[in-house]
Amino acid sequence: MNSKKEHPCQQVSISEDSYTIIEKEQLAKRTICKMIIEAPLIARKARAGQFIILRVNETGERVPMTITEKDPAKGTITIYFQVVGKTTALMRNMKVGERFKDVVGPLGQPDEIEKIGKVVMVGGGTGTAVLYHITQAYRALDNYLVGIIGARDKDLIILQKEMGALCDELIVTTDDGSSGQKGLVTEALNNYLKTSHDVRLVWAIGPLAMMKAVSAITRPFQIKTMVSLNPIMVDGTGMCGCCRVTVGGKIRFACVDGPSFNGHLVDYDELLKRKGMYLNQERESLLFSVR
């Protein structure tokens, strides 16, 4: 009823997507990997802020990954992942032409993107990849975009060229000063907000500590701040409650109510602790993994 009829050319036939890896590229000293995956049905539907859950093989864990780019015409989606544990290590070893066992999506609430004026997009580490799709959507609505992206050193910065092309201003920071400003993205943001008074919205995606810090910076300026949370997930459909986070004193399930939330309302400390819950076992998993 309220759904628009799909245009016939968008009618991808319903068959199990092959989830074949079409392209693969190692970035940031091999700590981050970019992959283009064939998933025509998902590519057709994915909107900024949404993610997939994938499994490498029959015994694999269900791992959430943000859809960084999509190409409905080609029927592909792009993910950027950081190698942090067993599954992401296995993924890095996969070759072009190989298939994922399962990919489900698009998951999560698409972000409501509007034309509002000046928006600052803050990306830390792999968070920049998550931010990229959202930045594209704000660009499409002709907002004034200020990008602030950062990493430890210049080799770990990703998507600099792409973000540069989307943003009206781009600030790059590195902890060691090897590229752009020396320091953290949060410092760059703080300085920017002190001089520019027409910022309507801040998006911050990166490590939890960074999102927490950004939210603390923007609060006194009373600038609405959105963050994208990544608690541990299992099903991604709202069935297990593993991904629950406290936002504004209420329990929300990040997989269906998020993953984006108003950063000023998130209980970061609780989330930080919850993410450590399986740490010992994840180490064991890595230890026992083949490579």
């Binding site: 199990e16 015994t59 864990e61 066992k101 299992v234 297990c240 609780e270 919850r274 076992q281 064991e284």
Partner: protein, 475 residues
């Protein structure tokens, strides 16, 4: 007459079980099944009532005396075909149905002694079939050319799919998870319902020509309307009650506190009990508390034990009599050493420095007089608070309606709790050509009631597709 006296002499045949000390260390099935002789002996206890009450107790009206008689005569395959006329998943139902509240409750033998082991016999017949070379499967009637979509592959979706396929319709199942089966796969543990059985049932469906697409969440990848755009002429929603309920008490987000769904999914769906051979970790500490008193709570408790917990305690706010779990499962849990604290309700969780739960503050409850509905409410006894140490808490206090599909289907009417409103006979919802049944309509219920709903909807969908009169319409 002679039959009758003979029947009364034989006691109900016990089904052999794995002994307690070994079963609490493995995930293999606990009851081991009847051998043919035992099954025949048990079947011979049936007094073949003229007006069999047991059939009335069966939500799908299996011709129980007929199949029991066939078993008695050694015609085991015929017995299973008789059951399958009414029940597409007998190997599942023989294991998990609450027979004590259904067919066996009505059995006349139960008045004086023990009822016929109808569930055990159903299981026997179903298992027997699998030991035989694949018999001729019932072939669908000639194709009708009509297309139906089934959303969700729990017992209710599987039943609709099988029935519609047999009637010659082209059926496609869309399942959100990476494996079909619903609660049968992600919820009920291996030691109660081996997953191989569920897989066999799915294979049977596929042999009927049913297409099963995993990893497809309706409401996300397609809306219900988009399914119609793609040529489906009817949609059945059997999406279950997949939303975990928390109690909303302080400390519930501490580490070590999981919903039953999360715990059981990690173990069953993700095979966490084989970690690290599989990649999904599942944590169980030394002292596990399970909150709740239903089947889900029993499954959590017995699973924790098998994962190595030293002490597992069920906290239930009413008394043993009110526990909704199947009595068999309660007894097995007790045999396995699960501790039960009745009339006890958690009010607050306490944590250690690492944000892990370390204890539960509980309060004693007392049963109030039964209300009009006969249900006994509980009231907390002031001043009875006590603190018990636990390092893992599994919350199994019920389930709710998952909004993922309904939130994208605005013309689907819901009740105040978010469940879909559907016609009790046909399953038709407020949205034309959309039917629903199972837990998403009734709230958490049973496998067999979900199947019964599926069966009735299949008939209604068939009539609608074929334009047979008394077609349900919403106009």
């Amino acid at each position: 007459m002679e039959q009758k006296t003979q029947a009364e002499k034989i006691n109900r045949q016990k089904m052999p079980e794995q002994n307690v000390s070994s079963r609490i260390r493995n995930f293999d099935e606990v009851p081991l099944g009847y051998d043919p002789q035992t099954a025949q002996r048990e079947a011979s206890r049936c007094i073949m009532c003229k007006n069999p009450k047991c059939v009335e107790g069966c939500p799908v009206e299996i011709d129980i005396p007929a199949f029991v008689k066939l078993i008695k005569e050694g015609k085991f395959l015929e017995a299973i075909y008789k059951i399958k006329e009414k029940n597409a998943l007998p190997a599942v139902c023989g294991r998990v149905c609450p027979q004590e509240d259904q067919c066996e409750k009505m059995c006349l033998l139960g008045l004086k002694g023990e009822p016929v082991g109808i569930g055990n016999l159903e299981r026997f017949a179903a298992d027997y079939e699998y030991t035989q070379p694949l018999a001729e499967v019932k072939k669908p009637t000639s194709p009708t050319g009509h297309k139906a979509a089934v959303v969700g592959s729990g017992p209710s979706g599987l039943t609709v799919a099988a029935d519609l396929a047999l009637l010659g319709h082209e059926v496609t199942i869309f399942e959100a998870l990476h494996e079909p089966g619903g609660v049968l796969i992600y919820g009920i543990p291996e030691f109660r319902l081996p997953k191989a059985i569920v897989k066999r049932e799915i294979d049977y469906l596929k042999s009927l020509g049913v297409k099963v697409f995993n990893n497809m969440i309706i409401g996300k990848i397609f809306t219900v309307d988009e399914l119609f755009d793609r040529g489906f002429e009817a949609v059945y929603l059997g999406v279950g009650a997949g939303l975990p309920v928390f109690m909303g008490i302080p400390g519930e987000n501490l580490n070590g506190i999981l919903s039953a769904n999360e715990f059981l999914s990690r173990v069953n769906l993700m095979k966490g009990y084989e970690f690290p051979d599989t990649d999904t970790p599942v944590y169980v500490g030394n002292h596990v508390a399970v909150i709740g008193g239903g089947n889900v709570a029993m499954d959590c408790a017995r699973t924790s034990l098998r994962l190595g917990a030293k002490r597992v305690t069920v906290l239930y706010r009413r008394s043993r009599r009110e526990m909704p779990a199947r009595l068999d499962e309660v007894i097995r849990a007790e045999e396995e050493g699960i501790i039960f604290h009745y009339l006890t309700n958690p009010i607050r969780y306490l944590s250690n420095e690492q944000n892990w739960v370390k204890a539960i503050e509980c309060i004693r409850m007392e049963l109030a007089e039964p209300d009009e509905s006969g249900r006994r409410n509980v009231i907390p006894i002031a001043g009875s608070e006590q603190t018990i140490e636990f390092d893992t808490v599994l919350v199994a206090v019920g389930a709710g309606a998952n909004p993922v599909l309904s939130s994208t289907t605005p013309d689907l009417k819901l009740n105040s709790r978010g469940y879909y409103i559907a016609d009790p006979v046909t399953g038709l919802t407020s949205k034309p050509r959309v039917f629903a049944g199972g837990d998403i309509v009734t709230g958490s219920a049973t496998v067999i009631s979900a199947m019964g709903a599926g069966r009735r909807s299949a008939q209604a969908i068939h009539k609608m597709l074929m334009g047979i009169q008394d077609t349900p319409t919403t106009d």
